[in-house]
């Protein structure tokens, strides 16, 4: 091919770019001393659970929150490094999900359901009372704000939540994702008062209360103490509301048609 200027071979080559030196970047590995050998080992275990490594990203972010109390830029880099992703790819995921917090959280996370049904039963009033109780005079606490120094004992991050799937027990709130059912503004204020004093009031359904970081470690699939974990599994779960139907059926002598003693023969193989 001949260009109007002549053949490409005869043209002068492009001018060599001026030599520029860039300051060497400090090596970012290890990303942060926050993530110790145990956390790295756990990250590997999480990844090994899945057929494809990237599926481990959500549990890894829970793991990061269990170490930091939130997901920092360091935490994002840690996940990116473990899964060979870019930090942009990890950031995109972190910012999508409400359970990943981008600022340091309190020892406890209090989530009040303010969806329609709970709100109509008093959820909005509960949330307002907690905003006022946990805030300063004239400046109530806002959504995802923390009372007390984040991470210190008794500090509380408050949020309003969407439907927490406990509608028969509304108005409901969660502390570190354990259920506190059938609340009133007074009972909720008493609960956070106990938390501020360093107490751990037991949930109506769930395990004995710990703190947000312990719970995030559990969500990632780990526990630091097997005995505590076994006790957690045995925490109460069946409220009277849960058992209403079975109770009424028992009282009135109702039951489903009895199952046959032996499973009936399965249908024959369909013809191809």
């Amino acid at each position: 091919m001949t260009l109007p200027e002549g053949t490409p071979e005869k043209l002068p080559g492009p001018a060599a770019p001026a030599e520029r030196t860039w300051e060497a970047q400090a090596d970012q590995h290890p990303v942060s001393p926050t993530f110790d050998e145990l956390t790295r080992q756990r990250a590997k275990e999480v990844i090994a659970r899945y057929p494809v490594a990237r599926s481990a990203l959500l549990p890894l972010l829970h793991l990061v929150q269990s170490v930091e109390g939130y997901v920092s830029q360091d935490g994002i880099r840690f996940c990116a490094e473990q899964l060979e992703l870019t930090t942009a790819e990890v950031s995109a995921v972190v910012t999508f999900y409400t359970m990943y917090k981008r600022t340091p959280c309190g020892e406890h996370l209090v989530s009040v359901c303010t969806n329609t049904l709970c709100a109509a039963l008093g959820g909005d009033a509960i949330y307002r009372s907690l905003c006022e109780t946990l805030g300063e005079p004239g400046r109530p606490l806002g959504h995802e704000e923390t009372a007390g120094e984040p991470g210190t004992p008794g500090s509380i991050t408050l949020e309003h939540a969407e439907c927490l799937a406990a509608c028969d027990l509304g108005p409901v709130l969660q502390i570190n994702y354990e259920y506190y059912d059938n609340q009133t503004p007074e009972s909720a204020v008493a609960l956070v008062g106990a938390l501020r004093r360093g107490e751990k009031p037991p949930p109506t359904r769930g395990a004995p209360l710990t703190d947000l970081r312990t719970v995030e470690l559990e969500l990632a699939g780990f526990t630091d103490d097997e005995t505590v974990a076994a006790a957690a599994v045995a925490g109460p779960s069946a409220a009277p509301e849960t058992l209403r139907g079975t109770t009424v059926a028992a009282e009135r002598g109702w039951a489903a048609p009895a199952l046959p003693d032996e499973p009936p023969a399965l249908p024959p193989l369909p013809e191809k």
């Binding site: 028969d168 779960s237 139907g245």
Partner: protein
């Protein structure tokens, strides 16, 4: 047929606890209780059969998806390509949708807390039927106690040889992972759930291809709800005729109805499909403090609302659809006369706006503007045109958004205007004609500008 003969002609009782029957047992969540009450027997029957026989059984039973859409479960399983070559040669996956978050829905969480083994036994039978060797149970992250219980049950099942390599010496391998979500309602949409499970933002995918051909890791995948999968062991143990003794021809079986709100005794009531709100209200002790019923949802906020005139609508897939709504998740939220309809609709719309994933424009923008209109109206600055504007916006979301979230967002608004239009108009009318005079001045000035074509 062996065992007890079943007479499908007899009418079942008003409550038929099947899935909920074990819930009142002492330590109901343990393997010991589960086996003592007949658990893991269906598994042995199933593993002795050919997988295709199980698919036929579930088809015959008429079981329909309990997550809201009501798709026939056996048919979904039969869409999975099988065979040693082509698409059937890919690995197959079972994904359990336990991302319960539809407002009003609270049946899967107690199921997983009280009887996790029925879910796991269902997972094993289903995986065997569709020839999957990997199953993921995607539980919403806020459901911590259920996650704990299901994980403990999975560990027990591994220890007992129900999971892992060579299940019960049959040569069938299965691994189950309990995956915690991270707070996103949209992940209850099956393709968004798959993206989330792959470690991405939970945004829905374009269909087709459907998950049956290109689901998790682009491989054939069945996505089923918790209640659907937990029903499977009972269908194997009882047979399709037994299952059909409850419910109707097209919507057979028992169903957990979650009754919440302004009733005397809210709770979980497992009844044959097709029960009515009248029956449920009677069981739940009637309306709280005798205050009359105003409106209710048959299956979560995404199903168009009903009123007191719908007390006798049969709550099965056909009955709810015939009366202009949907069965959804049978989350029966009951509201009495003290609740303002525009306020309730505003709260629900705020929810959809918050949970819209932002992928498609009609849903992202539409829910945003609907919230603006409703909040303005509830705070005393509605205009007579607002009702029509909202209907117009809904018309531009319904059927034009990427997934069902957008459609669901319009349900409370359009159904509320259908039944309570006058309440919206009254609310607007009782507001002062000019709530903010300075705003009106702005509008007049803007109009002048437009007319003259030059800044005033």
């Amino acid at each position: 047929m062996t065992g007890t003969e079943i007479n499908p002609a007899t009418t079942p009782d008003a409550l038929t606890p099947v899935l909920t029957r074990r819930w009142s047992e002492e330590r109901s969540w343990t393997l010991e209780t589960y086996e003592r009450t007949g658990g893991y027997r269906a598994l042995r029957t199933a593993l002795a059969a050919h997988p295709d026989q199980l698919i036929t059984l579930v088809k015959d039973s008429g079981l329909r998806g309990r997550g809201g859409a009501g798709f026939p479960t056996g048919m979904k399983w039969s869409f999975i390509p099988q065979g040693a070559e082509g698409p059937g040669a890919k690995p197959k996956y079972l994904v359990v949708n336990a991302d319960e978050g539809e407002p009003g829905t609270c049946k899967d969480i107690p199921t997983m807390m009280a009887d996790p083994h029925s879910l796991i036994e269902g997972c094993i039978i289903t995986s065997y039927a569709i020839r999957a060797n990997f199953c993921a149970i995607y539980v919403r992250g806020e459901a911590l106690h259920p996650i704990r219980r299901v994980r403990a049950a999975v560990a027990e099942a591994y220890a007992k040889g129900y999971l892992g390599k060579d299940v019960l010496g049959t040569g069938f391998d299965l691994d189950i992972v309990v995956h915690a979500g991270a707070g996103a309602y949209i992940c209850g949409e099956e393709t968004a759930l798959l993206d989330s499970l792959e470690g991405r933002r939970g945004q829905p995918r374009l269909k087709p291809p459907f998950p049956a051909t290109a689901g998790l890791y682009a491989s054939p995948t069945v996505v089923n709800n918790v209640e659907t999968i937990a029903s499977v062991p009972f269908i194997v143990a009882g047979g399709s005729d037994w299952f059909r003794t409850m419910g109707s021809e097209k919507s057979p079986g028992p169903k957990i109805y979650s009754v919440s709100g302004h009733v005397e005794r809210p709770g979980q009531y497992e009844a044959p499909m097709g029960t009515t709100l009248r029956t449920l209200l009677e069981l739940a002790g009637g309306m709280k403090d005798g205050i009359p019923l105003k409106f209710w949802t048959p299956g979560g906020s995404s199903t168009p609302m009903f009123t007191a005139e719908h007390l006798d609508v049969p709550l099965d897939f056909e009955g709810a659809a015939g009366a202009g709504s949907m069965l959804g998740t049978t989350a029966v939220q009951v509201f009495n006369e003290t609740v303002s309809v525009p306020w309730a609709v505003m709260k629900w719309t705020e929810f959809y706006k918050h949970e819209s994933c932002g992928k498609c424009t009609p849903c992202r923008e539409g829910t945003y503007w609907l919230v603006q209109i409703l909040e303005r109206m509830v705070h005393g600055e509605g205009t007579p045109e607002d009702v029509e504007t909202m209907l117009d916006v809904c018309d531009n979301i319904l059927g034009r958004s990427f997934c069902a979230l957008g459609d669901g967002a319009t349900s409370p608004i359009t159904s509320a205007i259908k039944y309570f239009r006058q309440e919206f108009l009254d609310l607007i009318a009782e507001q002062p004609a000019v709530a903010r005079p300075e705003q009106l001045a702005d509008v007049e000035r803007a109009d002048d500008t437009e007319l003259s074509g030059a800044p005033a």
